[in-house]
Symmetry: D2
Subunit: 452 residues, 4 copies
């Protein structure tokens, strides 16, 4: 074929049926090849929401689904920009459609570096999914790189620079990554669909009608103020109701302690891990290659846990079972600083009942979760949400929306102290008589779901 | 607590948010304990639709979700029966609500014996998920058994007998297992929701309004004829459009060949498998316990495949990659018997191009898939769908529905010949010149998607 | 502006929020002007489903909504045709986009001639909504004509010829009017949405992906067979479950008798009608102009009925109240011919109980309803549904779909005998003792909802 | 039958298919009789949203649908209260199910006094739909009264007292009428469904799970805080985006001027109105009976307007056409007080262009619209939304929700100046040259949709 790879389109548009967007539409050979690459296919084996599916059993969707969704929203934005706001008409305020392929590739690949239960895994093993995304895109050994490189020699670097937000065209960058971008729009809708909650639902079609390019990035028509406001409120609701759910965090805490325990034990008994979790060994050794990383998926972790349920170490064994059989740590709210001493007391009580507090208690603050919330005062000017007046002038969203103003710059979430359910659930207390006093003391410090 | 376990209800009804049924409602302590048992939690790690999620990327839901759904529909049927058709009023035609707990347990546990990619796994390793469900329910070692046994000594056997259809009360049996039961109703709705297709959608609320008990089982009001008809058509549509999709079957064929290859290699090089797939070894050795089976899940298989991508055996290695990276075999329709000779020819051509036909070609008939379709002439009288006239007399559905009559007793599906995509896709033919003649010959036998 | 009216587009696309299609998109000034014309606005005051809203209280949508919907589907088909199947590429099998405006206008205006409760009104007053649509489009006095005429002198005639199916381009004709056209697709989806039933739901997006033009009209890809099949089944379900509902027909029968009574009384006491229903007088006199017709709407009829509830004529008075207060005649099924004699008997019994059988009984056969169902053998070749094979050859749908074959050529519906509810409902029988014998006799002839 | 009317239940539950609640369930003979009464059936002929359907063409639903919906939500609340919070268990904090029938009747009848385009009609003719609801319920001449009276002699008064909020049981009162009651919950969901917007969608099922009775009325579990918060935000969004839409208000202004003009003309030429609008005459004469009121519906008004399009009075004639053919006045925002002088100027300019400013200009403040928004500081304690802690103590919603705090006590909406579209739309200015200067002057005072 004499058409350059970059411009090759499929003879017939290919579609993937998607519950959220109805269809994902593929026209470029490059995009189809990327989807078929093994690095992208790997995302099928990694759940989008990690431990949230233990709370919302329907939310078993993968990062693969989400990546297709981000691609599709980006494609629709490009269509709208090209049709209504072309740079042919609007000059520097308009959209240059030769940027389309780079935007689509960046959208599809923005999460390609995610691993299993990323947030926890990263904390333990000091990996970083964004850096790994960049590595996957720019390393000659990956299929993704080879496909992008076939487009143009510097194409992998360009795509990577969109993800690192250093790409010169701010429209492309903000489409993929800003306070209201294709990424967030897809995950809110998708997570709402799969959890079965309705909080994340906002009017995507209307927002897409209101979005437009300008010289400094992406803005929204003032007519769309309430639609954007509704999106911000939906996002807030999803955070407080779904992403910060105490039970999911109770499972995350189990996972974190479990991986920590394994990590520590590795140096004592590395054979155990060579036999049960050889794909994790490079990470225990802090010496892993990109290929090592690309072999990880949810199943690799759960299979290791599965094998560890026969380990001699009782903590590793027990935590593995708690994770596989969904036994989250329980929790109550507390006030940091003022109640730090009380936390120490509670840990001691827990220890008295036979639980090593290092592995069976935890502090978890949802503020710690790596989700940024709307707080324009911390952001650079260009990632605020700007509304465009008829005369072209811009107004920052929270200036005109009292709802957004109420949320802006305010951290959401809470601080929780986690402990074994056995401390408060009589059905689980086999040796109740032995520890009755301890349990009573523990319970006396919790009232209305908060530490007192 | 002095209330017998059987009658213990939760102080406050517990709910699980479910995208299909909105909420799953739990009132019995027994049910909550069963859900929390490790045998049921294991179902979270087994996809409901197996290889279908390679075609419908949204369909990543688990057998756990489906089990909750079947439970919930059964619960709603019990409510309707108790409220409107109690045996206190209707005597032997009515519903005896003391059967409720057994019905709920059987509903929740009906699929508890499923393993990863059941249909394929069972063919290779001669396991049987229904028998294993019974074993899980009746083996003293399982948590499920211990919970059921706490209800009553013979309770596990009773629950098991519902699944084997030998339980004396036909109402309970047919609720869970008949041509229109809680199982099928949930999976059609759920699979439609998660694939994003609309074919499986029927009017559950209306069907539940029309269902009623009778002496010999479960029937429907004649007023609900069109609603039941619509359910049958939805089911037909899901089979031909989703469950029998050629690409999903192309992945199933890869999986089957892959497991076969491993099975064969085990006797040559068992060490390889002790190192990479120790949880599968009992199955290779045809000597597995219930506990061995209960350790299997999707992740165990994919982790083995992951490790096999470094195996020396090129077929094992290649098929593992094809499965993980979603490279299904391609296919065309053919006519069995009249085209058997041609199939043999096609296999030979495939071999000439360098592919071992035992592992790279296959015959797959969707009729073989273990889904029963509506064919009352093969069924015993009691599992037909019967409609109840005003005067109590019954009429079999296909007698009054011309749509159902058109489908009844007719097998659906097709026969397909599977082969490597390389045989027909020029982009994949690196050594095109070498095999050009072979490829051309192969292609000349396929026209309009069928063998000629 | 120097752009000819025909080509004038709106500076910014205008949209109407629509529950069925999300948005209706308007780009042409001509279309916006037509929507704003008084003949089209009048459709806001005419219910789409007539007496069906008495059974399905949610179905109060107007012919205006439906007309916008047919326009929108047609617009989407034109977009798909232009994008994928242009005549620039496919020659005579392709779509000539200069036909777009005529298709859009015909779609928007195809029902503009409907009046209040059309089917009944037409039977009584011998009007014909299709002829009137043509008259509205081609009469110089209407706003619709003036707008179309501004496009081109012969444009009104062209648009009218699409509606009469004499327009030379069969693609345009079949888009608007065939077995699977924009009209039927919109009303099935819309009526399903507004009634709250799910039967009419089919996969519009998928069907639109499968539709394509050819020399002789509009066909569907063979890949879309099951989607088209599903549409046919949905249509069947809507007919038998919604459009043919016995209660709606019971209200239609009241309306018919009421208008008949008024028509007859007019010649006895025309003053009554000049005072209460002056807008109906031209129709009583069988001498009406297009302008007379265009003043009719649902409110004109109900206001007349409202005033007639004070008429001296007890039948006119009573039937008016029955219509306004929703007191449908009741019904039972019967077999024509074999039970004609029995019908005569039933009428006599009804008369004995004090009801004039001419106004209080009726025969209503849903076959009579002016809805055509799928019966290709009766249609000319060009309106069958044809599926296109890969090699371009066509196959008629029922040849490959056993479901459609089961429905094709079979009349759906039933024959019903209507009578006053008083005949069978004891709560309504004030003078029960007087007529007890009569009532008993009447009831003895009805069993299981059918005449015996 | 010897069962007292009050306790008569239908032999089989009757259902109405409803798009919003799926089914409306009827069990009491009393409720079925009320639905069939002519006063309730009349609500079928009155649109729920008045002039909003001119903006949202899908929103053609009636007050009848809404009344059924309020009944259904109330029924569900009663079920939940009876099942979980019975006074048998909770004493004075619990629900007394003998209150059910009164609650259901009040729910069904709460809007029975609405007339056509109530808000405008009431302003012109000084009617009051709430007072009329009470009159319908308590006047012996109505069917509604006769049904209620059959229950118990003082039952009509009791039902009426729920509507006037004087009924002693605050639980019943607040179910029907408070900041979050069955009325508001239904109309938000219903109006969202029928307009096709998504703003009004909140999680009804979850809210119903969180609602509970207490001694002083109805409260919500603290766990439901975010669900209630979401409802408040949805309500805000519906107000600012749907109910306060400038175009709908532009039609309301036309309607108001039209009725005013007719009212004034009546005293000059009463014959005209006797001939064209006899059902309105009692209102022109300020001397109407309940029966006069009960004959009004949307069709009565539009039929009058229809006849007035031939009136000699050019203003009456023209405004009638504008209303029927949907020609709303246009508008721009303005600041009251500071811009009052400018408004006077704009009116003068309008007059210069030939429009009587009394009939062709208007001030419309959405604050004037009789919708109350959430502002607890103005309400009595008992209608605030209270959240119940675990220990039973109550917290007012805005204390814990920053979103609600942001909205509470803040009036929403805007002030608009309305004028003929001819003033700013060149396409409508036939005599442009004559008034060019006037039009330019007018336009110069409007910038970015606001008066300057």
């Amino acid at each position: 074929m004499s058409v350059p790879y970059k411009y090759q389109t499929l003879p017939i548009e290919k579609v993937f049926r998607d519950p959220v967007h109805n269809y994902i539409h593929i026209n470029h050979q490059v995009i189809l090849d990327l989807i078929n690459s093994k690095e992208v296919q790997r995302l099928r084996r990694i759940k989008q929401l990690g431990t949230s599916s233990f709370t919302f059993h329907g939310a078993e969707h993968s990062r693969f689904s989400h990546s297709l969704g981000v691609y599709e929203i980006t494609r629709r934005i490009c269509n709208i920009f090209e049709q209504n706001y072309s740079n042919k008409k609007l000059k520097e305020d308009g959209w240059d459609d030769s940027e389309r392929l780079i935007a689509l590739c960046a959208a599809l690949l923005h999460d390609v570096g995610h691993g299993p239960y990323s947030h926890t895994f990263e904390r333990i093993f000091h990996t970083n999914h964004e850096e790994i995304s960049v590595a996957i895109i720019t390393s000659p050994e990956t299929e993704v790189y080879q496909i992008l490189n076939r487009v143009e020699a510097d194409f992998p670097e360009k795509v990577a620079s969109v993800i690192t937000k250093t790409y010169p065209n701010p429209q492309v960058v903000q489409m993929i990554s800003s306070q209201i971008d294709a990424d967030r729009m897809d995950y809110l809708l998708r997570d709402a669909y799969y959890t079965g909650t309705k909080y994340g639902t906002f009017d995507l079609t209307r927002i897409l009608r209101m979005i437009r390019p300008c010289k400094d990035g992406v803005v929204f028509s003032m007519d769309g103020m309430h639609a954007v406001e509704d999106y911000i409120v939906s996002r807030y609701q999803m955070y407080v109701q779904v992403y910060f759910h105490p039970s999911s965090r109770g499972m995350e805490v189990v996972l974190e302690h479990l991986l920590n325990r394994a990590h520590e034990l590795f140096f004592e008994d590395s054979n155990l891990f060579y036999n049960t979790a050889q794909l994790l060994v490079p990470f225990f050794k802090k010496n892993f290659s990109l290929q090592d990383y690309l072999r990880l998926d949810d199943g690799v972790l759960t299979t290791a846990f599965n094998l560890w349920t026969e380990a001699n170490d009782s903590i590793l064994n027990d935590l593995s079972q708690r994770f596989l059989n969904r036994k989250p740590l329980k929790s109550c709210r507390f006030e940091p600083k003022t109640q730090d001493k009380l936390i120490a007391t509670m840990k001691k009580i827990t220890e008295k009942a036979g639980f090593n507090p290092d592995y069976y208690t935890a502090i978890n603050s949802s503020y710690d979760l790596p989700y940024d919330f709307y707080h324009p005062e911390l952001e650079k000017h260009r990632t605020q949400i700007e509304l465009q007046q008829n005369d072209g002038s811009l107004t920052e969203l929270s200036k005109v929306s009292q709802l957004v103003a109420a949320l802006a710059g305010q951290e959401q979430g809470d601080h929780r102290f986690y402990f074994p359910k056995e401390m408060v659930d009589q059905n689980l207390q086999n040796d109740y008589d032995l520890f009755a006093e301890t349990y009573r003391l523990f319970a006396s410090h919790i009232h209305n779901g908060a530490l007192i």
